[in-house]
């Protein structure tokens, strides 16, 4: 390589400058560091799930061949599926393929895991997204109304509602909702799913009950969390006192000043909740007959279909890691004082 280079043209120089600035961006280096730190997390998650699935009695060959299979037939299929190889060899084979983007094929159906994820993940994303929208869209106003007049009627009702909501398990709530809204009132369907491509309205109708089943607990939790944070801001922070002293109306102080600061805690919890929420989908999708990734995971566990389980666990882990990262990045957007990589003042 030559030690002297020709002078760069102006546009090229500008582009190089932008690239240098980008490369030296503290936020970008923070994201890169977090992504690198996620690698051992993903390795750990996939390895642990591999260990757990291999610790369970039986394997895919036994499940595929059924109860009448002889040990010889099972062994023959184990060889065909590569299940006779040592545990670490199988994990290494899977990992090696996963790194190059090949998640393997289902041992039961023969479908590629990528195609299963491609068809089922959007369904679950839609369900989870819907649950988040419902919970956040209601939690924020409820918390604001509660915090506006602590111990008032609205606050007490809101807290009682959230206490009740937190006490009900999603699967119990699902059955109650189906009984009331599908069986008795007959306004929403009890089972099934319609793709949005077929009918957006029907798609929403079929998603309401499962999304509420998942989202109600979150709604109640978020309401209580945000209310507590808002009250803390309103009662102890100097900027609130200043704003009030300037004659800003209490509602405006609450919504324009306190809310923004209280959202940090909520964002963290929302990001952390995603893993829990994906877990809820396993049960809820089964109850409502929704062909999402939770339903697929349950089937795969039943069938000891390790490539499918590993694929789903891997994708779940990636989603949770990315959401946590997004929450951290969002902090800096919401609070200009936070800039990753810079010393705090």
């Amino acid at each position: 390589m030559s030690s002297t280079s020709a002078p760069l043209s102006a546009p090229l120089a500008a582009r190089a400058g932008r690239a240098r600035r980008l490369a030296s961006s503290p936020t970008l280096s923070f994201i890169v560091r977090r992504l690198l730190a996620a690698i051992p997390v993903l390795l750990g998650v996939t390895f642990l799930s591999f260990v757990v699935m291999n610790s369970l009695p039986g394997d895919a060959a036994q499940e595929l061949l059924g109860a009448q299979a002889t040990p010889a037939e099972i062994h023959q299929l184990e060889i065909k599926l590569g299940l006779d190889k040592p545990f670490l060899t199988r994990y290494w084979d899977w990992l090696h393929q996963a790194v190059i983007g090949h998640l393997g094929h289902s041992l039961s159906s023969g479908q590629s895991v990528a195609s299963i994820l491609g068809s089922d993940l959007p369904v679950t994303f839609e369900l989870v997204g819907f649950a988040f929208v419902i919970s956040l869209a209601l939690a924020v106003p409820l918390a604001l109304v509660s915090a506006r007049k602590p111990n008032g009627v609205a606050d007490r009702l809101s807290m009682m509602f959230s206490m009740a909501g937190l006490s009900i398990a999603p699967y119990v709530l699902a059955l109650v909702l189906v009984y009331v809204f599908a069986v008795k009132l007959n306004v929403l369907p009890a089972i099934g799913w319609v793709p949005p491509g077929q009918s957006v309205w029907q798609n929403i109708r079929y998603l309401i009950l499962p999304a509420v089943s998942i989202g109600l607990g979150l709604l109640c939790f978020y309401t209580r969390l945000l209310r507590a944070d808002l009250l803390e801001q309103m009662q102890g922070e100097d900027y609130v006192v200043t704003a009030r002293a300037k004659g800003v109306r209490p509602w405006r102080v609450l919504t324009r000043h306190a809310l923004r600061n209280s959202l940090f805690g909520l964002i963290t919890v929302v990001a952390l909740n995603l893993g829990t929420l994906l877990g809820f989908t396993v049960v809820i999708e089964d109850i409502f007959g929704i062909p999402g990734i939770g339903h697929e995971l349950l089937q795969a566990i039943d069938n000891r279909d390790i490539p499918v389980i590993e694929g789903i666990v891997f994708v779940f882990a990636v989603i949770v890691v990315l959401c946590n990262l997004a929450a951290d990045v969002l902090y800096s957007v919401l609070d200009p004082r936070i800039r990753y990589g810079r010393p705090t003042e």
Binding site: G66, S109, M159, L175, P189, I191, G289, Q299
Partner: protein, 544 residues
Amino acid sequence: MRYVIRSSRLAAFAACLFVVAAVVGACGSSKSSSSSASTSAGTTPSSSATTATGAPKTGGSLTVLELGGYAGAWPTGLDPATNVNGAADQDQMNSIFGQLFQLSTGGHVTPDLATSATPEKGGTTWRIALRPGLKFSDGTPLDAAAVVSNWKRDLANPCTCKPILPPVKSITAPDSTTVLLSMAAPDGAFQNQLLVANLNWIASPTAIKSMGEQAFKIKPVGAGPFTVVSDTLSNTLALKKNPNYWESGRPYLDSLTFKATADDESALEALQSGGAQAYDGMATPSLVSTYKSHFTTTEQPATSPYDIQLNTAAPPFNNKNARLAIYYATDAAIIDQKLFGNQFQVVQGFTAPGGLFYYPNVPGYPAYDINKAKSLVKSLGGLNVNFFTLASPVNQNFMEALQTLWKGAGINTSIHLYSLAGLIQQFDTKKWQAALQTAGAWDPAAGVGLGFRFLSQSPFSGVHDPKLDALILGGQAQVNPTARDQTYQKAAQYIAQNADGPFLFPLASWNVAVHGVQGPGLTTVIPSVVVNTAPLWQDVSFTQ
């Protein structure tokens, strides 16, 4: 927390919620109570034979619920050669492929795609005659060559969804409508075995070749009454009427959809909300009256009784007195009464009232006698039993009831519940002691039948007795039904006399349809060949 909600206010709020829910419920129930009044008039109690009797109407769409994990699970697709869950997925498979022979109302085997099955050479050869002019829904012929191709493919597959037959020597097609199957030993039960085997479903060889096996198992092509529109494995199978179906005027329905449901409670709610119109295989006895108050609920004749398998090759049940103690300590009638309200028929053999070769009383059967049980346990110096079964709420109740009964005779029982894989591992150890299982089938030689639990070479048998083997295999081999009957009677007596394992009673399942829907097996009685009764979907219709 600073803002404490007083408990009285919380209670008031809870009461308000309850009142709101009650009002909502009451609003809805006025509608449903009127419908249930009209329902109960049309629903016959218990084993309601035929309830919906209107003239069949052509057209309409029906959604049928199937229990997820069993009939609502088809994780390996719907190719007859590779669908390991085929015996449970009869509804889906029959709808797409039709059947060579089918079990019809009253438990009669009737021709569907085939016209006859004739044993030759003492039952070592079977001649199957096909209906002429049959076509798959892709337009290719369903002829003898297609059947031969399917059967060879089915039997070559390692999957145990294939039938257990004597060694097959040849499968040939002497002409376009005749198939000859030749075996090394006689098999008098072959035609009945077809009903629970993948050989009964014929797939289009052309479609398998052109689509490839992977695509075919997701969207298979057969000659049944319906064709596949879409298939989400173990979730939803949408079918539409096959315009080329061989039987004129059938199927009645324009479309048929099978949906997996989580459990019997979820299915009830889905039916009540109008999300489905039928449910195949409701199996919770405590929900029967609720189902009956809303829908046509038909109890299907059970064919597989529960039995207590005893491992006669390992202590303590290699001692006949220990086995007899279990017989004498087991009061099946009281379990039926306490757990199921006397709904089921207590049996003494491996068949049940809905199946072939049923014997209500088996000579020499050691009936319940707690004093004899106590005396035997005392002479043995005590009896401790490791008792296992497949994990399910019903099985757990069953096990605990037996544990209590046996305790009265001084038998100490430890209960273990396993998943299917865990259950199979227990059998593999060969050291297991006792298991609660079901034994039998509509025909003892078919499916999870007599041989499965009592034949020496079966990995799931607790008995290793050449004399019993000869009786079991003899019952399968004979072509003459009377001779088969006599042999099975001897087998039942032999099991009883040797105390190889007591029998209890079979659990029934119920098929459910909303009013205005009718069909054989759905609203009439057809014995179950495996666990659930498979309705004849080509004949299911809405009523005028």
